[in-house]
């Protein structure tokens, strides 16, 4: 059995140590937020927070995260209680096809945890591993800056949301 914490809930998994983390999240835990894009940690679609760090889950084994806390985009917020990033992405309409957005939100959440007042270049830097093919980059940058401002204003930058 491998124990992990997923979106604040402890989970015990009777799976092999080398089970693929993204496969576990999607096919065993029914969390479709993390998405398969490449399987080689080259696009960012599959990003999740492991503790507070944004990592690509598509080429990671389950035992590498044993005992750790994992947060997927579903664990950031819900339509009723959205994370400030999710609210800002909707306000800026920051997405076209949307397939990259889970990864964008996770990478941005990690950024704002480490740096509550990023400038545009810090946002670009934090999202450098995340690919978007539709060309929504500028809206995504604006959404992250908007969320950072909202979180600072609300004094919530210190929590996970």
């Amino acid at each position: 059995m491998i124990d992990i914490i997923v979106n604040d809930a402890p989970v015990s998994l009777d799976l092999p140590e080398d089970a693929n983390l993204l496969d576990v999240l999607r096919n065993h835990l029914g969390l479709f937020g993390p998405r398969f894009g490449c399987g080689a940690e080259q696009c960012g679609c599959c990003m999740v927070l492991v503790d507070d760090e944004a990592v690509q889950s598509c080429a990671r084994s389950l035992d590498a995260v044993a005992g750790r806390s994992i947060r997927t985009v579903e664990g950031l917020g819900t339509p009723d209680t959205p994370h400030p990033l999710q609210a800002a992405f909707l306000e800026e309409q920051a997405g076209q096809c949307g397939y990259c957005l889970s990864g964008m939100l996770i990478a941005s959440a990690a950024l704002l945890k480490a740096n509550p007042a990023p400038d545009e270049s810090a946002v670009r830097g934090a999202l450098e591993s995340n690919l978007c093919r539709c060309g929504s980059h500028n809206r995504i940058i604006r959404a992250v800056l908007r969320a950072a401002a909202a979180m600072r204003a609300a004094g919530t930058a210190q929590t996970d949301g």
Partner: protein, 700 residues
């Protein structure tokens, strides 16, 4: 299914699908189902259609539910492509909704004796001079809309619209931001099993033998089509990896190698044809030549293509992110030996796709395996490597222009010759199925030849006829029939290379004539809307600041010579690599349904075009595609994305024009012209990498 006959006088796709119940169902609980044959590919079309219908019906937008396109109930609107969705489906939905409103009001009038012109509609409630007298929701007999649209009905005037022309948030975005299962990739059925393909290792490879011992998975092999089926995705992936090492293939060279494409295109015997010509009697004072090259480029969708299919022994059901579900059904029927009526195709969203990617191919893969295992739902998702190497590419192209100037430096003749494969290989009209897997079967027919639509829209020749007044004109195609690499439609088709060629040539001619390149363009245009977007973008960008290695350039086109006008100024900085710093865009798309959506489409198209311009080229050796992951096929990253300003011009009373592809060609051209301004070399070959530009400097 398409209705039997076209109905004259009806707009957009309503002409082929005149029955109102095809488009709208009004439900007693106060909802309206809106059916469209167009599909959401991240462009926001469902949101725009909802705005249009809500406006004409006079109901709150929240009451409208858009039904995902499916072959049983949706109108057949062909393919979601060519920036035609608003012109096809938008105008049809508008007219159908206006008809539905008129019919319902007349029923209410008959019932109450209130004259129809005195009845207004307030969020679905009918209100007469003395107050409420009924509603849509109390008149929901199915038969009411079971009639053909009336061409005489007149939709609302622009000034009476509440929603069209205002910003409407995208219908599909909340699910995508909260990680809800919405994509085909997230679709699960009870008892579903997972199939994984093992594609041939190279283009000319033939399967010789299979060692299937201890595979721990079910094998489906036919000719060069090989798949494994397992109970889980991970087991299927593992079994496919094992199978790959157990297949013996016979391989041979079939490709030119990507470094030789330019020479190869010149060497293969093309089918030449002159498709537009006009003589000139002006005396030519000087002749100028230019040839540009664009390599094969890929869709590079963020998600690998995916499909689910189930066959019950008689009927086949397929869930697909195809852009043309009816055309897919037609080719599936042909490939699988089924009647079209035995196949039901239903759309599910996928990642953004910019033309004909592998969406249809993977639907065949899933259907073929499903037919081998009746009763079992089968899901197939391609690998990233297959997506980047087996999806149809966009054809490599050579565009040659020979222009003659008169004694005063004005253009007196223009000859443009385009060497390219055809730009469409979509399912739906070939003599054989255009489905990759079907061509790999033992008795499978080869894929049909590529096609080009006729001018004015054209395929290879899209935007090859310049909008400039040129005096003499000759536009010729040199079509390369042989396609060692499969090609098909990708955003803007031939326009990307043609606009790059035209707009760099126009600047070269202005330079030869000793005139300002922007003024030179304006001097050769007689279309006021074209002149207006060029003037607008010049005003937007202001005067450039001075700086070494920094330059600005303009690119302009009217997409397809019939859709949106778009003028773009790019500012580039030449560092180790060229970087696009800023883009200013002025576009005239006529009436705009959702200004935010239109601006976003234009900006996205421009950013994507920067990626094509600066980075992208499909690389291959003599046997196989090599650029099959994101390191080998890089696309633009956050650090490389320019800031973008978009301004929409909409002359009053102008009909909506497609907007999704208008920025592609002008962006590439603007970047090329900006590079010339920055470093003095006018690029002739995409992508504009430091290595290619150094080659051009040395080659001069």
């Amino acid at each position: 299914m398409a209705e039997a006959s076209d109905k004259p006088g009806l707009p957009g796709s309503l002409a082929q699908n005149p029955r109102l119940s095809r488009w709208l169902s009004i439900l007693p609980e106060g909802r309206v189902l809106l059916k469209t044959g167009k599909v959401e590919i991240g462009q926001g079309v469902l949101t725009a259609l909802r705005q249009i219908a809500a406006d004409e019906l006079d109901v709150a937008i929240e009451r409208l539910e858009v039904v995902p396109a499916n072959t049983d109930v949706s109108p057949d609107e062909g393919v979601t492509s060519g920036s035609r969705s608003i012109e096809d489906s938008g105008l049809a939905v508008r007219h159908a909704s206006a008809c539905a409103r008129a019919i319902h009001i007349s029923i209410c009038a008959q019932r109450t004796g209130v004259p129809p012109e005195r009845i207004r509609v307030d969020d679905g409630e009918f209100v007469g001079p003395d107050g409420p007298i009924g509603s849509y929701w109390s008149q929901t007999d199915d038969m009411i809309l079971d009639c053909d649209a009336d061409p005489a009905v007149v939709p609302k005037k622009t000034e009476d619209l509440r929603l069209v022309g205002t910003v409407s948030p995208r219908l599909d975005l909340p699910d995508k931001v909260f990680g809800k299962p919405r994509y085909i990739h997230d679709f699960r059925l009870a008892g579903m099993r997972y199939a994984k393909l093992v594609r041939p290792p190279s283009r000319g490879a033939r399967l010789v033998s299979v060692d299937d011992l201890d595979l721990d998975a079910q094998l489906v092999v036919d000719g060069d089509f090989a798949a494994v089926v397992a109970d889980s995705e991970s087991a299927a992936n593992a079994a496919a990896a094992r199978l790959a090492s157990r297949l013996e293939w016979e391989e041979k060279d079939t490709l030119s190698g990507s470094e030789n494409v330019r020479d190869w295109l010149r060497s293969v015997a093309p089918e030449p044809s002159v498709e537009a010509s006009k003589a000139t009697d002006t005396e030519i004072a000087s002749v100028h030549e230019r040839e540009i090259y664009r390599p094969y480029v890929a869709h590079a969708s963020m998600a690998p293509s995916c499909a689910v299919a189930v066959y019950d022994g008689a009927a086949l059901k397929v869930w697909s992110h195809s852009q043309g579900i009816f055309n897919l059904r037609r080719d599936l029927a042909m490939a699988l030996g089924l009647e079209a009526y035995a196949i039901h195709v239903e759309h599910r969203e996928g990642a953004g796709c910019y033309g004909h990617n592998a969406a249809d191919d993977v639907a065949f893969d899933a259907a073929f395996v499903a037919m081998a295992l009746p009763g079992t739902p089968i899901r197939v998702m391609w690998s990233r490597e297959d997506e980047l190497s087996w999806s149809p590419f966009s054809s490599a192209m050579l565009v040659a222009i020979e222009a003659g100037l008169d004694a005063s430096g004005n253009i007196a003749s223009w000859k443009q010759t385009v060497t390219s494969h055809g730009h469409s290989n979509r399912p739906g009209s070939g003599a054989t199925p255009s489905l990759l897997g079907a061509s790999h079967l033992k008795d499978g027919a080869p894929l049909p030849p590529t096609r080009d639509g006729p001018l004015p829209a054209g395929g290879s020749l899209r935007n090859a006829v310049p909008l400039y007044v040129t005096g003499g004109l000759e536009v010729a195609a040199s079509r390369v029939a042989e396609t060692p690499l499969r090609v098909s439609s990708l955003r803007s088709l031939g326009a990307m290379a043609n606009v790059f060629a035209v707009e760099t040539m126009i600047e070269a001619l202005a330079e030869a004539a000793g005139r300002d390149p922007v003024e030179y363009r304006l001097d050769h245009l007689d279309d006021e809307r074209a002149i207006a977007v060029i003037r607008a973008v010049r005003e937007m960008c202001g005067e450039p600041g001075a700086g070494d290695g920094v330059g600005r350039g303009l690119g302009f086109a009217r997409y397809k010579n019939s859709a949106a006008y778009c003028a773009i100024v790019a500012e580039v900085g030449a560092e180790e690599e060229v970087k696009v710093r800023r883009l200013w865009i002025a576009a005239d798309a006529g009436e705009v349904i959702n200004p935010e959506g239109a601006a976003h489409q234009i900006e996205g198209g421009a950013v994507q075009a920067c990626s094509f311009a600066l980075k992208e080229e499909v690389r291959f050796d003599r046997r196989q595609v090599l650029s099959c992951n994101w390191e080998e096929y890089p696309i633009l990253r956050f650090s490389e994305v320019p800031s973008v300003a978009v301004r929409l011009l909409a002359p009053p009373g102008t009909p909506p024009l497609g907007v999704g592809e208008c920025a592609t060609g002008p962006t590439v051209a603007a970047v090329a012209n900006a590079i010339h301004a920055a470093i003095g070399v006018r690029p002739t070959a995409m992508p504009f990498t430091a290595a290619n530009l150094a080659g051009e400097i040395l080659g001069r």
